[in-house]
Symmetry: C2
Subunit: 89 residues, 2 copies
């Protein structure tokens, strides 16, 4: 880690290399990249005619959909936890 | 909703139309599509030279990164909640 706290990580997704610069550790970026790569392969398997940009957009769409659902669950859980803490106060 | 429970929703992302078929309500798909579209525009603004497939892959990478982080928080919260419930039992 340099004095600017910027970490450079190069990953390969769907056959192409990407260099990511950010605060996240390389291990996190590599895990995330492999999840995107897996999801692209999965969607490509079901939709063989998609080009790379369509495939990547549909991958993003799938991931955001899951993200929104888990975020809603998370917020409900947070509310439940706050309510229990109020009851215990 | 037809007897197969499949919902077809057409959305526009980064100037291209996509038809999504699935169990999710159209409102969910439209919200998710607009989040992907916004994120692509945001990343394109910072990296003007990216082509559409690179842009979409980097968008997916950003979204998965946030997804993994919130999922970890969610799991920690879940553990905390279970522990409190054990203490109250």
């Amino acid at each position: 880690v340099s004095h600017t706290n910027k970490v450079r990580t190069t990953v390969q997704i769907h056959g192409q290399r990407y260099t990511v610069v950010g605060k996240e550790p390389s291990s996190h970026i590599r895990m995330v990249a492999s999840m995107v790569d897996d999801k692209m392969r999965e969607i490509k398997g079901k939709n063989i005619s998609l080009d790379t940009s369509q495939l990547a957009v549909l991958t993003a769409l799938n991931i955001v959909s899951e993200h929104v659902k888990i975020k809603e669950e998370y917020e409900q859980l947070l509310k439940k936890l706050e309510k229990e803490e109020d009851n215990n106060a």
